[in-house]
Amino acid sequence: MSNLLELDNLQTTFRTHDGDVHAVRGVSFHVQAGELVGIVGESGCGKSVTCKSIIQLLGSNGRITGGQIRFNQDDLAQKTPQQMRAIRGNQIAMIFQDPMTALNPVLTIGKQMTEILVRNKGLSKKAAKAASIAMLEQVGIAEAARRYDQYPHEFSGGMRQRVMIAIALSCDPKLLIADEPTTALDVTIQAQILRLLKSLQQKTHTAILLITHDLGVVAQVCSRVVVMYGGLVMEEGSVEDIFYRPQHPYTQGLLASLPHPEQTSHRLSPIEGSPPGLLNPPPGCPFAERCPQRMPQCERQPAFYSQGAGHRAACWLLEDKGVQV
């Protein structure tokens, strides 16, 4: 299968009062058509900025300073804002953590849904309304025809996220970027939304790039996982590689810090310290400062070493155990 999306050494910088923040410092990974890939990491690791770089929603102070974003063999980093507008929504759609701020509070749900269909797909208003109601039904909103005329505040958090998903998928995008889509939701509603995303992915073959800090969410729905830390990819592999054969000390530490259901009397094993700031990122491996296995060479950035098909990690410990990739 060919790659739908390929990131090659992506670098994104934000200009702030305190200096340049290097939020993404050379990130490479790919997403195949129809695949569900997770990006997991802690706050400030660059996972959200990576995704916002793909669709170039970086705000006025953010800038892609290097690398390539190939989408269908086309480099998005070279597109004009006008060309990007044609791609956003049509070919790449995005849903965010907080569906209340993503929806316009003074427009009905129906108005917000048909607007996109009329503009992007050239449907008539009548056809757009029918398509919108069908889409609302598909994401599990009961009485869709009545709800169509309601305003966002009349919907609960879970229902709003369903509306967001309906809007995002209404133009049949090839890729859906979901940035912490269930973080603001309760656990029983989270389960409903994750099931919905997964079933829509299987039905429509839309690739999904799911950003989350929750390892449980990753294990439940993703087929491949990218682990990020300090603006860099630490490890990448299938969900089984990451959960059963983690190679990077950061991935290992993250999994070890979770409470074990059967051994509640055991002390937890946290990773000491806290994630690095990206104003003056450390020159070498960003995890070195907290790493229990730190060595002198960690002051230089390690290369990626292959740990099996599709599994790679950036750590000097693997220098003798895998081929550099």
Partner: protein, 325 residues
């Protein structure tokens, strides 16, 4: 729900109703945030309180500390009735019950140094200057911060470090009881385990009793002795932590646990998480069981009459008609 020892905290039929302003002509509706809750907390235990947003768990925790006036019911703290106590009567008790809150960014005054923040409660409760200084240093060491941090301001610390400052501040006046209101929710995964370990170490060393409110069910299991599950202002189940997870009785508890995404790709449990619908608004008035609108086992009696809490196994309580003896 009597147990062997005299409980440190004892709550009977506690209610906290808020009146929503209905506007000029309409009568306001009552929000029954906590609606008839009874339970005990034994000295030295950690009582976990779980439930989805809006279930009333934070209101219940704060009502026990008497951070506001309650509507009705009894609260006994160390044998004293405090539900109707005046602010003056409460003051000597305040130092015996302290709190740690969710957001370490808003719970610490940004204009105060760490030293001032930790010493302030001691100042209020009449500790000598000498004692204030001594205890501040000891506590800082206990929560894993260093002498050089004393003169710094909150913005210079990470989320995990701020939560350590909050812990030192809460413990400065030697409380017996600490309300931990979602103290981990704002923290990164790798940092949560650090804070849990500190809380557990200090509990052992100082014989503390915790009321631990959270929505992360796996961390609650790890830290709690017993757990209470809340739904729409009611406790629906109380059991020892492991019993609750291994033999959940109430259909809501079962649904809640089934929805937790397990960090293990072999246990893809989300397909089994089948709870439909959403938590009704807290203003809705249902005559029967509050969960009957979502319950997969709903019976006619559930819609008519509210089930009472009863002991279904030693130490295991549930309020559900399925267990009516």
């Amino acid at each position: 729900m009597s147990e062997h020892n005299a409980p440190l905290v004892s709550v009977r039929d506690l209610r906290k109703h808020y009146r929503l302003n209905g506007g000029l002509l309409r009568k306001g509706v009552a929000v029954k945030a906590v609606d008839g809750v009874s339970f005990d907390i034994q000295p030295g235990e950690t009582f976990g309180l779980v439930g989805e947003s809006g279930c009333g768990k934070s209101t219940l925790g704060r009502a026990i500390l008497r951070l506001f006036d309650i509507t009705s019911g009894e609260i006994h703290f160390a044998g004293q009735e405090i539900a109707q106590a005046s602010e003056k009567q409460l003051k000597p008790l305040r130092k015996r019950m302290q709190a740690i809150f969710q957001d370490p960014w808003s719970s610490l005054n940004p204009g105060m140094t760490v030293q001032q923040l930790v010493a302030e409660p001691m100042q209020i409760h009449g500790y000598s200057r000498e004692e204030q200084r001594e205890r501040t240093e000891t506590l800082l060491y206990k929560v894993g911060l260093r002498q050089e941090h004393l003169q710094r301001y909150p913005h210079e610390f990470s989320g995990g470090q701020r939560q350590r400052i909050s812990i030192a501040r809460a413990l400065s006046v030697r409380p017996e009881f600490v309300l931990c209101d979602e103290p981990l929710s704002a923290l990164d995964v790798s940092v949560q385990a650090q804070v849990v370990n500190i809380l557990q170490d200090l509990q052992q060393e100082l014989g503390l009793t915790y009321l631990f409110i959270a929505h992360d069910l796996s961390m609650v299991r790890h830290i709690s002795t017993r757990i209470g599950v809340m739904y729409l202002g009611k406790l629906v189940e109380v059991a020892p932590a492991n019993t609750l997870y291994q033999h959940p009785a109430h259909p809501y508890t079962r649904a809640l646990l089934a929805a937790v995404p397990q960090p293990d790709p072999r246990i893809r449990n989300l397909e089994q998480a089948t709870l439909r619908g959403e938590i009704p608004g807290p203003t809705s008035v249902l005559p029967g069981c509050k969960f009957c609108s979502r319950c997969p086992h709903v019976m006619p009696v559930c819609r008519r009459e509210e089930p009472a809490m009863q002991e279904i196994a030693p130490g295991h309580f549930a309020a559900c008609w399925l267990f009516k003896v």
